[in-house]
């Protein structure tokens, strides 16, 4: 190990590469080279966006990049520059309000970030400098500094571990704050560095910073005065990441390699891409329509103005002469100015406040998810987490759910069930009575009386004890309170806990322990196990060939006392079987397959004895591959494959993975809601299939269409041909022969007579995707069509990237359905990021899924309420909010538009500026906000009980063009009514009992009063859930309007140039006719709505649908009676 391999490229050969950096440990130049201190960034973490100086310009710039804000800015500028009918205040004030609120929010958030940054940057650290320990601040660390870190401190930057106080040259860290994995990870010092760091003269050559937390390649050159420089390879096991915490180790020293914004933590900090909800797209489409309405209104008015003016005497009557400037202005310029003026006059049709309200609604509304006690899980003592509030309503629109299996559908709480050695089965059910289970008395199943030879048994158990990366939890360590995997029932004498990144490994080690082989731990590269005769055996751990999802196996090479080098390998059957002698396979295969159909996770165990020559070669190759700076991964895998060959199969294990609580009920509810559930798992087909049966995703009547390697290899023909035939056959079965269901709201109502389930595995999938170019899209199309007609699709043997591929395929298919991915592990991150909505489960596999998700929930069962309850309500709320906003602004501006026909197209505003400004901000904003936060048109319990209700809002039902058209029509109807109702009243403007007449502002005020009351009452009519807040806000808004109007007209306001509304409101109230017309118009406006509500009940589609839906749900329930005589209870959702 001390010698650099001969074929290694000479020092400096790689130095010319741009993407590596050289670090001088302790800033001491190597003796041979000229020392040029390289420049690296300092160790300051800057997560804040603004400084005090650039906050205003930068924040404003960012805010005005939003199209809506920019639009209002333009309107405002037009008002300032051009002589327009309304003062700039009318649009400036709301804009200012919106910008200020957003700026304050963002400023506050940035201040928090500054605070957090400072806390990190000013953290005191100790740097070793020429033998002296210097206290300094974290931000002052430079690349090359040797930093000392004490126990329970976090690392201030990315360090290469040089020295540890532990005598085995390791240290333990937890990366809980990085990826949430709370288990201890072992890191190693660079071998053979000097104990005296002051005299260490070394350079480190490593790659440029990259964000992958688990990858690092580098080399260390150690210079000694009397010898050739030595080279050590550096890997992720030598690198301590900023943000991780030192555990169980008193003190370490390390040299800083990446600092500040170049640390892996900082590189990972970058936010993920913004997801936009379908509702937002609808809003934008509606906005476009309203923009067209706006422009056409302005165009119509401008045109008519000039037509009207062309009549003699109309353009410039003697009482209204033009100023000199107006006469001189160019005609076309005048036209353009008029156009702009009309735009300004009607610009309120696009409400600036809608964006604020929508954002407030989303932001505040998401709290209800966080607050929901039903999402609280006492086990992990956490509730739901909302990472983005932009997608609340999307939860009500989900059409496809992609779920991971392990940890999501199942608990990831592994229990060793049985094993099989040389084809003999050893069942393990009861820990206490069968401690000595290997005696031939009661352990085995009756028909398998005979046992494997004792030697084989012990070899198998030794393999289980040695082939893993489990750590023994130190009884004295502080890590005692961390989660271990002891949740299963530990036998009383088991005092030690195990820590591992995968719960399968713990289950296996514990399984071996019950059979008498106990893993005692590692001490300086020696593994100690206690065998059945309570003797302690030690093995030198030579190499660990790590597990990775592509190889699907892991191996260790150990040297036994007797000096033999042994390779133990465990892995999935598909990856082990080709690497062992074929004659052994058949005995084991039966067991493996049977276990798999019962829903267990199976692993095969194999071993190989390495001759000294074989070992020497393997060792050299492994060393070489580990030292490689380039393509290290590929080289390692090649070596691994080479070493793990020609092994002997010993046996197989079966580990049970329990179903999550209420997994079956949840899946059933989702299917009842018309959501298609796809299971994407890396597990093997049989296991996954049984889980699907257990979750009632597949049912007795489901016809399974299988497209797997097995079905593809049936015939003698080539796989490609077979694929083609199968696809066509399934397509015919599932797509062509099924009577087409009616599109639209009735989707999925009449259940197809035959349920189809589709199964595909990773290999077949890649064939579908990667077959020859011409047929690829065709196959993809066929595949998609089949899948869309199946109730459940199971994709097994999926690589993480393939999961994302599938999600993407469905996402981009026709109709772009809304997809949701739910998973708990790092392998689900890609699909969580890909789907419209990503849900993380706060499971045992670390927090990566949670960090990358949009919402995180503790358990799968919470998904039901999240979608059917919260999602449904949020969707209804926001859809109503959006439609209502457009409606209320249409009937607000329409009278003003109509008024132009009666005032010579002179851009005379109908309403006073105060009303124009306050309409959206004060008078009508609060009731809709309250509605959009509190509305429960159907109460949550009913929503949860009747999953079919979810279908009624599917496909963006409330924001399609038909409802939009209805709302627009309603707005037009109201607008016309308001204007012409008052217009006819003003046929004789003498409306007061004393014969005095009303003027134009009285006209506008009457219209406005009718408007405010009508739109508020319209909302009141739509409100199905009146809490005290709704009452308060609705009646409060109306009271506020009345009181405000009194005050606005009751006082001579010194800051106003014109007291237009002086006593106008009071005079209006003194007129009986005004009262009567207001009552009349409000009632008449609401009449159609009341009629619709009342008549829809007996005539509309809902009544019958609901009944049908209820019976449908009932039917589904009865058909979902326990399948294959299984019993499901909370206690054990197991497949016995």
């Amino acid at each position: 190990m001390t010698q650099s391999p001969p074929h290694h490229p000479p020092l400096g050969g790689d130095e010319s590469r741009v993407d590596s950096r050289t670090i001088y440990v302790g800033h001491r130049p190597s003796t041979t080279e000229a020392f040029i201190p390289p420049k690296f960034c300092d160790n300051r973490i800057v997560s804040s966006k603004y400084t005090v100086w650039n906050f205003l310009p930068k924040n404003l710039f960012e805010q005005f990049r939003r199209i809506a804000n920019f639009y209002f800015l333009i309107i405002f500028l037009v008002q300032v520059i051009v002589d327009t009918p309304t003062s700039p205040v009318t649009s400036g004030l709301p804009l200012f309000f919106v910008i200020t609120v957003t700026a304050i929010k963002q400023g506050y958030e940035d201040w928090l970030r500054h605070k957090a940054d400072n806390e990190v940057n000013k953290y005191p650290v100790t740097v070793l400098e020429n033998g002296r320990r210097m206290g300094t601040e974290s931000e002052k660390i430079k690349v090359g500094d040797v930093v000392e870190v004490n126990e329970d401190e976090t690392f201030p930057c990315d360090l290469i571990l040089l020295q540890s106080t532990r005598d085995d040259d390791t240290c333990f860290v937890t990366t809980a704050s990085l990826d949430g994995e709370s288990n201890h990870k072992t890191h190693y010092t660079v071998p053979d560095t000097e104990k005296d760091l002051d005299s260490l003269s070394a350079t480190i050559e490593c790659e440029q910073p990259q964000p992958d937390l688990y990858k690092f390649v580098g080399r260390m050159h150690i210079y000694k005065t009397d010898r050739e420089p030595e080279i050590r390879s550096l890997g992720p096991e030598n690198l301590l990441l900023k943000g991780a915490t030192l555990k169980n180790t008193q003190r370490i020293c390390g040299v800083a390699v990446y600092t500040g914004m170049e640390t892996k933590m900082a590189l990972n900090y970058q936010g993920k891409s913004q997801k936009r909800s379908a509702v937002e797209k609808s809003i934008n489409a509606f906005l476009l329509v309203y923009l067209c309405i706006l422009v056409s209104k302005a165009l119509v008015c401008t045109t008519l103005k000039y037509v009207w003016q062309s009549k003699p005497g109309q353009d410039e009557p003697w009482y209204n002469q033009k100023t000199q400037r107006e006469k001189e202005t160019n005609l076309y310029l005048k036209m353009f100015t008029d156009f702009l003026s009309f735009m300004v006059l009607f610009n309120f049709i696009i409400p600036v406040s809608m964006y604020v309200t929508v954002e407030m609604q989303k932001f505040l509304g998401s709290f209800f998810i966080t607050w929901d006690r039903d999402f609280y899980d006492p086990e992990i003592q956490e509730g739901a987490l909302v990472n983005t509030s932009d997608l609340n309503e999307e939860l009500g629109q989900v059409e496809y759910v992609f779920t991971d299996k392990t940890g999501t559908l199942t608990q990831n709480n592994m229990e060793f069930i049985e094993c099989c050695i040389d084809g003999f089965q050893y069942k393990y059910r009861d820990a206490v009575s069968e401690l000595d289970g290997f005696s031939a008395t009661d352990g085995p199943v009756s028909k398998l009386q005979e046992k494997a030879g004792k030697e084989r048994e012990e070899l198998f158990l030794r393999a289980l004890c040695l082939c893993h990366t489990v750590q023994v939890k130190e009884p004295t360590g502080r890590g005692q309170d961390h989660t271990d995997s002891m949740a299963g029932c530990p036998p009383p004498h088991e005092q030690t806990g195990f820590i591992a990144s995968s719960p399968d490994e713990v289950a296996l080690v514990k399984g071996a322990m019950r059979y008498g082989f106990t893993f005692l731990g590692m001490e300086s590269k020696k593994m100690k196990i206690m065998n059945r005769s309570n003797a302690i055996e030690t093995y030198d751990l030579l190499h660990v060939l790590n597990f990775d999802p592509v190889r699907r196996r892991m191996s260790v090479i150990v040297r036994s006392k007797s000096g033999d080098a042994l390779l133990f390998c465990k892995g999935a059957d598909s990856s082990i079987f080709p690497r062992v002698r074929q004659e052994e396979v058949e005995k084991i295969r039966v067991h493996v397959e049977r276990n798999a159909t019962e829903g267990y996770r199976t692993l095969c165990v194999a071993y190989k004895k390495l001759s000294p020559e074989e070992y020497a070669r393997a060792d050299a190759d492994l060393q070489a591959a580990r030292l490689a700076l380039q393509d290290r991964e590929e080289k390692l895998i090649a070596v691994y494959n080479q070493v793990e060959a020609g092994m002997t199969l010993i046996g197989a294990t079966a580990v049970e993975d329990r179903l999550q609580e209420e997994a079956a009920e949840t899946m059933e509810a989702l299917q009842g809601a018309g959501i298609k559930v796809w299971v994407l798992t890396g597990d093997k087909m049989e296991t996954a299939k049984s889980t699907c049966y257990a979750c009632r995703l597949f049912q007795r009547g489901t016809e399974l269409l299988e497209l797997t390697v097995r079905t593809l290899e049936d015939g003698v023909r080539k796989r490609e041909e077979r694929l083609h035939d199968l696809l066509l056959e399934y397509h015919k079965k599932a797509v062509q022969d099924v009577p087409p269901t009616k599109p639209g709201g009735n989707r999925g109502w009449s259940k197809p007579s035959q349920d189809f389930g589709f199964i595909i595995d990773g290999a077949s999938l890649s064939m579908v995707f990667n077959s020859s170019e011409s047929s690829s899209s065709h196959y993809k199309n066929l595949f998609l069509q089949i899948c869309q007609n199946c109730t459940t699709v199971l994709c097994c043997r999926m690589a993480p990237l393939q999961k994302a591929q599938i999600v993407k395929m469905v996402k981009c298919s026709k109709g772009s359905p809304i997809t949701l991915s739910i998973g708990d592990g790092a392998n689900d991150v890609s699909m969580i990021l890909e789907a419209h909505v990503g849900i993380g489960i706060k499971g045992k596999e670390g927090r990566q899924a949670v960090r990358n998700s949009d919402y995180a929930i503790p358990k799968l069962k919470h998904l039901k309420k999240l979608l059917l309850g919260h999602g449904h309500l949020y969707y209804v709320r926001i859809a109503h909010l959006v439609q209502y906003f457009f409606y209320k602004n249409l009937c607000f501006i329409l009278p003003q538009f109509l008024y132009q026909f009666f005032c010579g197209y002179s851009q005379q505003p109908l309403y006073d500026a105060a009303y124009l400004t306050m309409y959206n901000i004060c008078f009508t904003s609060m009731p809709i906000l309250a509605y959009s936060l509190l509305e429960q048109h159907i109460c949550v319990e009913v929503l949860l009980d009747n999953a079919t209700l979810y279908r009624s809002i599917a496909k963006n039902a409330m924001l399609r063009w038909v409802p939009f058209f209805y709302w627009t029509l309603l707005g037009v109807f109201h607008g016309l009514l308001f204007f012409f109702g008052v217009r006819f009243l003003f046929g004789n403007p003498a409306l007061q009992a004393n014969g005095q007449v009303f003027g134009n502002w009285s006209y506008g005020t009457i219209v406005f009063t009718v408007l405010v009351f009508t739109v508020t009452f319209k909302l009141a009519l739509d409100t199905r859930h009146w809490t005290w807040i709704n009452h308060f806000v609705i009646w409060g808004s109306l009271c506020f309007y009345v009181i405000f109007s009194f005050f606005w007209g009751g006082i001579i306001w010194p800051f106003l140039k014109q007291q237009r509304l002086y006593y106008v409101f009071a005079h209006m109230l003194s007129s009986a006719s005004a009262w009567l017309v207001i009552v009349l118009l409000i009632l008449l406006s609401l009449l159609p709505d009341i009629l619709l509500v009342v008549l829809r009940k007996p005539l509309g589609p809902h009544a019958r649908q609901r009944q049908a839906g209820e019976s449908g749900a009932g039917g589904a329930k009865s058909s979902a009676q326990p399948l294959l005589m299984r019993t499901f209870s909370d206690e054990s959702n197991t497949v016995v």
Partner: protein, 338 residues
């Protein structure tokens, strides 16, 4: 203690956070809506009848005096070059025109609601602020200063275009003209007269107008608008205030006088009347019409058939709808009540 720790992260169990606030969940069921509609319908029909009857009882007498027709007595005045033109319109009442009678003048195709016209005034000047007498607001253009650069007070288009026809009403008793007294008080809003518009406090008022000129169209300066009543001059002249309150629509009427005094307080008795018009206001150029309207008013103001008819129609509609709903629900056997 440990229990507390366990629930530290647990969300609060309040009705609000759990979305379980007690709520009233109204359902618009047929059982409420049908009787509701009947009640509203009946009430509306009642109000409608009352409004209709009231409106029918209001007497209105309209006389167009534009003089477009050649046989009109005012035809001679229509040429704007004719100054100080008077014309007389004779009419007779065959029954008592109940008082108090209100005299309105009406203009049509006259856009007082034109935006630039409406903006052409100086609100500060009209509150009596002397600073704006010398430098009127630029919004008054083109009637801000006269050709010599002297400020116009009151400035602006609205003030300049004040309606200046005059009406005198005579009852012809035994071929003798008896003047009917027209009361010019209380025709403008009380708040306009007393608060919104103010004269400068200068005494006499005339001095405030030194170095200013009267609006171009005006025959007399503002401080001499009503020689008979010194408190009806300047900016608080009632006719001026009525004019300054811009009309909402291009066809409008404004209150000119009330007949509240003497023997005519109870109304105009049957008989012959002569209305002598001082014809000054040109409308022909923009195709306008002028009329004079005699009307009495009720609690709902002047005559307006619209409200009564609308109430009757809506009321009947409500009743009809309730019947329709009753039929629909009878046929479908009240599915929600089952």
């Amino acid at each position: 203690m440990s229990k507390e720790e366990n629930t530290a992260n647990r969300p609060d169990n309040t009705a609000f956070t759990q979305q379980r606030l007690p709520a009233w969940q109204p359902m618009l069921s047929a059982g409420i809506v049908i009787p509701g509609f009947v009640i509203i319908g009946v009430a509306f029909i009642g109000i409608g009848v009352a409004l209709f009857v009231t409106s029918q009882n209001i007497q209105v007498l309209e006389k167009d005096y534009t003089g477009i027709e050649t046989n009109s007595s005012c035809f001679k005045c229509i040429n704007p070059r004719v100054k100080n033109c008077n014309c007389t319109i004779n009419f007779s009442l065959d029954k008592l025109f109940e008082g108090p009678v209100f005299v309105y003048y009406g203009l049509s195709n006259y856009f007082q609601n034109y935006r630039k016209y409406g903006a052409s005034k100086d609100a500060a000047q009209l509150t009596g602020d002397l600073a704006y007498f010398t430098e009127p607001s630029t919004s008054c253009a083109p009637y801000r200063k006269d050709a010599k650069g002297k400020p116009i007070v009151p400035c602006g288009s609205i003030a300049n275009s004040i309606f200046n026809d005059t009406f005198k009403l005579f009852q012809i008793v035994n071929s003798r003209n008896v003047a009917v007294p027209l009361d010019g008080k209380g025709i403008a809003w009380w708040t306009d007269y007393n608060i919104k518009y103010r004269n400068p406090t200068t005494n006499p008022l005339k001095n405030a107008f030194n170095d200013t000129v009267k609006p171009i169209f005006w025959p007399r300066p503002a401080y001499e608008l009503d020689p008979t009543n010194p408190s009806n001059n300047g900016f608080i002249n009632q006719d001026f205030l009525v004019w300054m309150r811009r009309s909402a629509l291009p066809n409008f009427r404004k209150l000119y006088r009330r007949i509240t005094e003497g023997e005519y307080a109870k109304g105009l008795p049957a008989g012959d009347y002569a209305l002598v018009i001082g014809y000054n206001y040109p409308v022909k150029a923009f195709d306008g019409r002028k009329k004079v309207v005699f009307s009495n008013v009720s609690w709902m103001g002047g005559k307006n058939q619209f409200l009564g008819i609308a109430y009757l129609v809506i009321g009947s509609l409500c009743v009809v709808m309730s019947i329709v709903m009753l039929i629909v629900y009878a046929k479908f056997k009240f599915p929600d009540e089952e």
